[in-house]
Amino acid sequence: MTDILSASAVQAEPLPWPDATLAELIAAQAARTPDAVAVRQWDDRLTYRELVDRAAGVAAALRVRGVGRQTRVGVCAERRPDLVVTVLGVLLAGGCYVPLEPGGPRARLRAIAADAGVRIVVGDAAAAEFGDAPGVETVAPPGPAPLAACPARPGDPAYVLFTSGSTGRPKGVLVSHRNVVEFATGCAALTGADAATRALGVASLGFDAAVIDLFVPLLLGGAVQLVGADDRADPARLTRFIADHGVNFGFMTPTVLSTLDPAEVPGWRTVLCGGEAVPAELAARWAPGRRFHNGYGPTETTVLAVSGELTGAEADPVPIGAPLPNHRAYVVDADLRPVPPGETGELLIGGPGLADGYLNRPGLTAERFVPDPFSGLPGQRLYRTGDLVTQAPDGRLVYLGRADRQVKIRGQRIELGEVEAVLAGLPGVDRVAVEAVDGPAGAELVAFLAPADAPDDAALRAYAEPRLTAAMRPARTLRLAALPVSPTTGKLDRPALRALAATARPAPADDAVPVGDDPVTRAVARVWARLLGAAPGPDTDFLAAGGNSVAAMRLVAALRAELGRVVDTRDVFTGRTLAGIVERIIAAAPDTGDGLTTGNPPTLSPPQRRLWFVDQLAPSSAPYNIAVAHRLRGDLDVPALGVALRSVAERHDVLRWRVPQTAGVPYAVREEPTDVAVPVVDLTGGADPEAELAQMLAAGAAHAFDLATGPPWQVTVYRLGVDAHVLAVTWHHAVFDGWSEAVFYDDLATAYAAAVTGGDPTLPALAATYADYAVWRAERDRRRGDADLAWWAEHLRGAPTALDLPRDRPRPAVQTYAGVEAAVTLPADADRAVRALAERRGTGVAAVLLAALGELLSRLTGGDDHVLGAIVADRRLAAFDDVVGFFIDTVPVRVRTGGASFAELVDRCAAELHEVTAHPGAPLERIVEALGVGRDTSRAPLVQVLFNVLNFAPPKLALAGLATESVPVPKPGSPFDITVYVVERGGRLGVEVVHNPDLFDADRIDALLADLAALAGALAAAADAPAAEVGAELPRPAVRTARLGAMTVAAPAEPARAVALPAGPDAPTDTEELIAGIWREVLERDRVGVTDNFFDIGGHSLALAAVHARLTAATGRSIAMLDLFRHPTVRALAAHLDGAADRPELARAALRAAARRSRTRRIPPRRPGGTA
């Protein structure tokens, strides 16, 4: 015993536990709190009484069939509350449950059932999975029955869990009631779980974390919140489940936990995380404000054997902690002799959690459960975990890796040998090796087959699917003439294999181009490439390309966010190939779930209100127009075109909306369909028709629509010859977006084809309209707006709210919207380097270019933290796929540089671009408001530089009998200082920008773009060097330095304060009274100080519009809305109004009269019909 004192050994305190079975304890709990909720899944709830009564029914049905003490009974049930009933029923009968999960590989499922000697399988999926299995009787859960005593004793087995085994055969671990009751008692003591616990039921029954999910709450009188299969497969749904069920306790593997956002589940106070190594970063994200426990334990020691609470300030590898109560841990060498603290050794566990052993595997049991020479307790055993650990100076244990060849894939323990043994059975395979390597979505298995002409992926997949679980199937397969052998040992050279696996990551094949213009295919391919590091071809298999269930979850989440489709992970796994997945997405019926209602009257969406407001600020500019033009060769039938356009507008009623206002509140009015005017401008007689055309296209693109009168779009045909026309269309962005373009063209083509042949041009009605989107969105934003807003506020905390690039002219006091275009194509070597880095990091090229832009910005501003904007298409429901309309949100993107290699910057940017799509419930206005960004007439709030990666491929217009060709149309203006578009032209990456010429000279922008392209290439080529040191000469001094005096804000054309502000606490003037009264009404405040800033006391853009309307009405004067922006306090605005009126005396008299009226006749408070 003396050597123990200097050895790595940790002994926990004793803690007594009840000497009873699980079934007895739960039945006793039911007797105490019969009406308490025991299990819940949305509206499906079981009280303790119902749970026990129904379980007693199952037990009775099993007893009739001979089930008694120690009988092993298969449980095959869907993830519904009846699953818990079924499990408890088996235990009440005295039996021992064997999880047989429906939907798994059938051959493996049946092998386990046979190995466990299961004759009876019970559960709602039993008949479907085992109905035709010989020698197996299936039982569906019957109705309730009177409770009979449980015949089992605490030492009897409660369940058998099968885990991956090294011989290629899964091994069943026998766990007793005593094991589980002791564990649950210790776990409750550690975590403080009690009767108020609402535990997350997310683990599959075959994973022993399910014991935490089910038995910890049920032994305490708490409730299991059982997650259904669909909610479990999708992070967004899982988040909603957790929040809606008030989950306050739960276990999750780090892989799954990392897909959730702690801000969205603030009520989840106790988080247990484990099953694989917990990254410090994950703890840092989750630990603040809650209890975050790292849990370690093999199935053989009953769920958890070692645990510790983590703070947000741990470093990798984080400690797994100390043994649970009643347990002891030792760190030993290969001869089972203790190693000193600080040295690495195998972890041995002793205590009442040790399982009896492996079912029918005495030799294996004897090998893994060894005599305990350390504790002095007679006859005790220790379990050899096979895990390498070390004891830190503070006594906590730190997990370092596996001693043997077990790996964890997505939280599941996989014995590589088992996978190899199965694959070796495939005819045509001589030798096989399987290694786990880091992939784009966590560890992944790579199989190496010899010879070089070993069966292909399809054959391998067909062979592996019925034999291996999803986690056990190789993500990739490499075929070699011979497997590499180490020259020194003659053994298989596994390090060489791993190196090979890392370098042989699939490159985009020649055919791996996201073909076609179909936006769904392009979007799926883009997300796929970002997740898996390589662009797919139509027939690339998602799993073969390295995809796994986590990657599928991310794909689904991203597709929902970016594409607006309701996609399920099932679509990914059933579709399998790019083409298959796209097909399923396209074929999916429009989703009417998630609160979608149809037949709504015209309703403005928040983004439309924002654009309306921008229109009010700058009524004569058109930065948000979308303009296109097509050259049409052939016999154009203009009347048929008019008929077809009318059909399109009939189908897409948003094209018939106009947006008037009353009292500053905009609203939508839908006009009845009318013939669409198609003016034909004849350019044939002109001296230079093409020059005239270009000029007229530019003018048409810049047309200032009056949203109040409509229509919000216009069409012009330019005639250049008998068979030569140009069709130009301009839409106000408020009714249109990039996605809409293809929808519009398709519908126009269909209707035109009918119209020219005298057919019926009527298009089928839409399943849902834009108004339905606006209503759906309002509900969505109401539901998750606060959580999303909290995320944004946290995400942007401390970020700068203005971005000023070196410029050539002072910023105009009032933002202008002029726009000039420029572009750069990456040089060939830069293009290659950027693509290679994107591939290596498993990101899209956009992340690389954003990172390069971030680095460039930090060199231009001297800061290392910038906020840009990005564009997110809020087309999350399939029902809106065919709807023309404005579904675009601008979201802030925070780019932090400094102290990092470029590769790290790229990773950050990729994560950022992904994350910002996931919080759509809080539109930009709310974020701006929450951040308290001061309003400023000289710039767009928060976002001055937009990074646009939503570059839909230009869709093609095809009109019957006409050859069409797209004609470039100049962008009508720039809503931001600079908008950056990531493009691909002629197989080369490039950047296009629209910039405001009132700020920047074209020379500066051209140089900036050239330097950005060069810098991107240099950084990508030296991605592992500190980014700040790469290409230090870039950008050139002319880009780096502003023109002298340009970094100021220009004096307003009209002096902002023509009169001195009254100082001091003077009695308010009549004008001030009037303005303050309107503010009070609009902002619903009891009092407003004359020096309060409108935007600091709850004011926002649309409230300002309401103030403007009332003020205009009360004074009978025309007041520019901008003036309200420029004079954001009552006193400043009053001074401006009093001083700037053409005839001050009259104006003052009118104001006094208006003020008197408003004092005597209280207008009931009214809030604008929605927030900005």
């Binding site: 030492g155 060894v370 006859g379």
Partner: protein, 62 residues
Amino acid sequence: MAESRFLVVRNDEEQYSIWSADRELPAGWHDTGFAGSREECLAHIDTVWTDMRPRSVREALS
């Protein structure tokens, strides 16, 4: 290097395991008389440990 020798050992719950022949047997464990290489011992256990339930559980049942 000579292969280590192991003993097949058993505790009072009649659970089997193996133990290095040149180390002192921990308290509560008894030598069954079978010795050999690790593999031989494990193979032997596979044949003699026919009821893997701990003795207390087995006896409570009967």
